[in-house]
Amino acid sequence: MKLKIVFFGASLAGKSTTVRQLYKILKERNLTKGDFVSMETDENRTLFVELFLTQLPLDGEQVDVKVLTTPGQFRLHPLRKAILQGVDGLVFTVDSQKGREEVNFLVLREMAYVLKEFGYDLYKIPVVVQYNKRDLENALPVEELQPICNPWDAPYTETVATKGIGVLETFRLILQQALRSYVEEKSRK
């Protein structure tokens, strides 16, 4: 079984940091396959994609999970769209800082548009909202961010990606969301 999980969010929200920390944590547990692949600009901003593979033992089966990030900069919309092909689960990385509400919302709106274009049911696709940068003084309360950033009322996590806090929990939750719909579908058949 192979899953494709994509982290999306505003520019500088912490997607790459989250995914790099996740790779580091999973590598320490011997759960990664191969290296971390990154295509970035000279300013260390994601140009196209960052990805790695992890293999998890579940129920006697090896579940391969491909983890990817999208570039956050607005001008790279066409590349984000290309990376989202065939996605099984989404993590919406939110920059919790005051003043970033609008940009978070615009990213969400763009994602909704792309998913609709691909034919996904926006309210059925597995999503986890990751409220990042929770350690910053100007981070808005989650209750204030929820109405803007979580129209699905999806599970959410509070993270400090630079320190790896909450990163693994975010990953576990999105896998749970993605696999649950699969397991439930199976039980219906």
Binding site: K4, L31, V49, L53, P78, A82, V87, D88
Partner: protein, 161 residues
């Protein structure tokens, strides 16, 4: 659209036919690497010697992203435009990617020094043969997990806590 959390399974007959088509192309073109994968970059078939299974997954993911990014490029100029085949060259290699029926893609990597015209012709025939085959292949959803949602949650906590 339903989620495509699936593993692809081919019947023995389909596998044999697919292998024959790939063998024919590989002999004629001398291509070093051949990948058949879905739009998410999940590898269905990889033929080649110099890449590990993991590397093949990376290559397929990037090929998929490059193909669809190129399609977006065309769509910016003309929304009605579609991309079916993408060919590009590096200093040492030629890359060919084409769309197949059923949301699949085929990618080929060949060393330079071969006649590009012949390679393109062989590739065109290869894609036609694959499309004929993919038109009749049954995609089987293999349900591999037998966990309840609760068990799944506990298992994930065990592995990722």
């Amino acid at each position: 659209m339903e989620l495509d959390i699936i593993s692809y399974s081919l019947s023995e007959d389909a596998k044999a036919k697919l292998n024959t088509v790939i063998d024919n192309f590989q002999v004629k073109s001398e291509a070093k690497n051949i990948f058949i994968f879905d739009k998410a970059g999940r590898v269905l078939v990889y033929r080649g010697k110099n890449l590990s299974e993991t590397e093949a997954e990376f290559v397929a993911s990037i090929m998929s992203a490059v193909f669809f990014a190129s399609e977006e490029l065309g769509n910016i100029i003309d929304r009605e435009d579609t991309l079916n085949e993408l060919i590009y060259e590096t200093k040492k290699r030629i890359f060919l990617i084409a769309r197949l029926k059923g949301n699949f893609l085929v990618g080929v990597i060949s060393d330079k020094g071969k006649n590009l015209g012949s390679l393109r012709l062989f590739f065109k025939h290869f894609v036609q043969d694959l499309n004929q085959l993919f038109g009749s292949i049954q995609k089987v959803e293999k349900y591999e997990l037998s966990l309840s949602p609760k068990q799944l949650e506990e298992k994930l906590k065990e592995v990722l806590s």
